[in-house]
Amino acid sequence: MSAGVLHVVAAGTLTTVQDRGRPGLAHLGVPRAGALDAPAAALANRLVGNPPEAAVLEVTLGGLEVVAGVGRWVAVTGAPAPLRVDGVARDLARAAWLAPGARLRLGHPASGVRSYLAIGGGLAPAPVLGSRSTDVLAGVGPPPVRDGTVLPLGVPAGPPMPHDTPRPPVPGPLRLRPGPRHDWFAAEALAHLAATSYAVLPASNRVGLRLDGPPLPRVRHDELPSEGMVLGAVQVPPDGRPVVFLADHPPTGGYPVVGVVATEDLWQCAQLRPGERVRFAVTPG
């Protein structure tokens, strides 16, 4: 089968191409990027027979409409948005055939934030520094998808996979380990963090999950010289409101990190809506 293209008729609020990102370049100031809900993106790829590193579309709050130039298997995972192919409803998390010229519409999700569309062969815009991921903070990688964007497709690697293991339906609190600067906060800061529920702020994006709640009391008030930051770092700026660093986080930062969210729980951060509440559970360092 020859490679084809995917025409984006409507891009929705924010749709980006994402793969597993470009780790290893933080020392040059380059964020890692990559799909925010990595397990959902991996599942979408498995369903259409793609290797895990294939690039998918990360669709924020739905509103996507695409037409394939060639016939390909597709699958949508992540935030549960209504999916239609040429007007016919299709199941999520299941491979569906997208015939040449057929129109796929993804409505607005009833819950969650980010849906993932995988297509057989993967999306194949030119990689930048080894990855096809769009980074919204530093502007590395392909630009965000717009109405009218035409994306080249790779060559399908394998047959679609009809079944997969579903994700646990009810997420627990975000598991948190003590961070490198937890001692900049009062001794009870981590316990305080775990005893409180935080509201997700509308300013949350691919850079960070911004939270509102009682400010964390600090015992050190001096400036922290810039230091490297990890994915999942819970950074606390002077206003005391925590920010969980997500895939497009700056590689260095100057605010203390009180804790680090477990990698396995980061997908939840990708799906929390403004106004929803989140809790933390502290696990031993």
Binding site: P23, S226, M229, P251, A262
Partner: protein
Amino acid sequence: MRFRAVGEHALLVEVEDAGSALALAAWARGAGIEATDVVPGAGTVLFDGVAPDLADRLAAWPGPGESAPGGLVEVAVTWDGPDLEWVAERWGTDPAGVAARLGGLELVSAFCGFAPGFAYLAGLPADLAVPRLATPRPRVPAGSVALADAWCGVYPSASPGGWRLLGHTDAPLWDVDRAEPALLAPGTRVRFVSA
């Protein structure tokens, strides 16, 4: 060296200063320390994506004295920045004096951050340190040569920024199509020359 755990897969190592951090990061890369990312900072090195025995392996670091100097890059500067007069006054000189004092220094890229290819250049004497703007400019043009505290820097792309702007350069600071995309990668020695 002081070790601080960062979640499950990373370790932050505190050292004396930016020079020591750079030396440790360079040594770790040369010694084949396994890590997805090795990120020098102003006084730390972050090792991210590491094996549990990292701290033991880092014990072999001989210290900052052993590090080899990096390559030298000359950055041609046109001294026309909006804060040049302000810095000159603060340094008790005139704009030509600022260019001469900066041009007489050999700086070294200690670490990158803020934006791809934005290097924090160390080597400005402490008595020449200048405070940041109280309110950052909404847009600093690409190529702006700037100071903040005792750091020098060159903005690789247009962005907001609170550093004091002294001039500009046409040097290709960031190019993703180059084998080494950052012109001023950590360890690079830098000299400002007048364009």
